[in-house]
Amino acid sequence: MAKFDPIVGRYVYVQHDGATYRTYFEENGQGIPLVCLHTAGTDGREWRHQLCDPDITKNFRVIAFDMPRHGKSIPPGDFYKEEEEYKLTSKFYSEFIMAFCRALELKKPVIMGSSMGGNICLPLALNFEDELAALIAVEACDHSPGWWIDPLHHPQIHGGEVCATSVFGLMAPQSPEEYRWETWWYYAQGGPGIFKGDLYFYSVDHDFRDLCRKISGRVPIYFITGIYDFACTPEMTQATADKVKGSECIIMQGIGHFPMSESPEVYKEYLMPVLRKIVQADRETNRPDDREHERPSGSGRAARDDGYARDRYARDERRGSASTSNEQGGVRVVEFDSSGGRTRR
């Protein structure tokens, strides 16, 4: 008997600003729509653990889509003759997310995004609050400079390897090697210039340092950041949350910038209480009848004790010639020769 993931993938045609985008998404579960946004230069595979977690999917219809030019969502047909390099803007990104939600006819979805997907939660809260139930802004802040850099798209530098390696240190040393390198792999597979172009949004176009205060607070926003995130530090997230009405700030220990993919078990400990609050708030409002969800059975910690998550995320925490030393003009030198011999001078 074959073993399958419960995830199902499809393409939907999203209309936006006079263009049609054939957009790939994956989903699993029933209930409140939970739309997951991938990080810069990657795709929805980052959310595979949450898409497969029955503790989440029993109350949520979890959906992860690939932005145009990412994953299985192809670029516009004329991308090859664009006269300006690709740059993601806050306007296009936020409007496309909402266009995708409308294409799927999602009613009051919850948006959960990480990194650039976290940052975009701020414009979404400001401009689309009537269409959203809640926002989970992971590794997010109002301004995250320093990442729109040329080495990430340069003909003499391997784009896949440099993009992936540049983000590797954003993950915590405590996170399982297997999942850190899986995240590295997703980054290595991005299209040329796409990671850098996304970072135009992340580091340049996204500047909510003042606009933060204009968010009404009618839509709850949960900020969740890991302590190993050096692009959006816990201090940066906290400073942002302090300015945003109706927000809550959660700092995660022992995890970094890609919690959903680098350490899904640790992330789950912090995410489940947030999801329970969202389910509770959903029950207290008049949700459409088609959203049936059961009352969560016990606490998140109890839910983890069913062994499912532990098995599902079972991991292997492996990890894991000769020289010459000499003095040249007062300088001590160690040299290594090809045969493994060693000399020290």
Binding site: P145, G146, P151, H154, Q156, I157, H158, E161, V162, A164, T165, S166, F168, G169, L170, A172, P173, Q174, I227, Y228, D229, F230, A231, T233, S321, S323, T324, S325, Q328, G329, G330, V331, R332, V333, V334, E335, F336, D337
Partner: protein, 134 residues
């Protein structure tokens, strides 16, 4: 395990121990096959020149001299930064060269011709990660 503490003496003997482990590493033979570079690791005011050929360290020298005929790039940081970086489980903001060098943090400076730094980032980071075993 004294060298795993924040006061690990990062001297030429320590570099030699690191270089031996680098040269024994079988993954670097693959990912560092085309990694040729001459770079400097600066610790406080001490410079160590590291010469790499095909992913193997050919030479480490303490101090720079005329006959070096220069180097390509330098990674310079206070001893305190390096001591944190080389811990088996480094603390946040010190677990990665780019983390330390990022404009937000400025714990380390990348100087010189940074193109070979970025070109060889994967093999270089793997090589530096081995410092945590040194």
């Amino acid at each position: 395990m004294a060298r795993y503490t924040a006061t690990a003496p990062l001297d030429l003997d320590w570099f030699e121990s690191w270089a031996r482990k680098v040269n024994d590493d079988k993954v670097l033979r693959v990912i560092g096959r085309f990694f040729d570079a001459r770079f400097v690791i600066g610790i406080d005011d001490r410079d160590y020149l590291v010469v790499v050929r095909e992913g193997r360290i050919k030479k480490v020298s303490e101090g720079l001299v005329t006959n070096d005929m220069g180097w390509q790039f330098a990674l310079r940081a206070p001893a305190q930064s390096w001591s944190r970086f080389v811990q088996p489980v480094p603390p946040p903001m010190y677990n990665d060269i780019w983390a330390m060098a990022h404009p937000l943090h400025g714990k380390l400076k990348i100087e010189g011709d940074t193109k070979p730094f970025w070109q060889n980032l994967r093999a270089l980071f793997w090589m530096l990660d081995i410092m945590r075993q040194a």
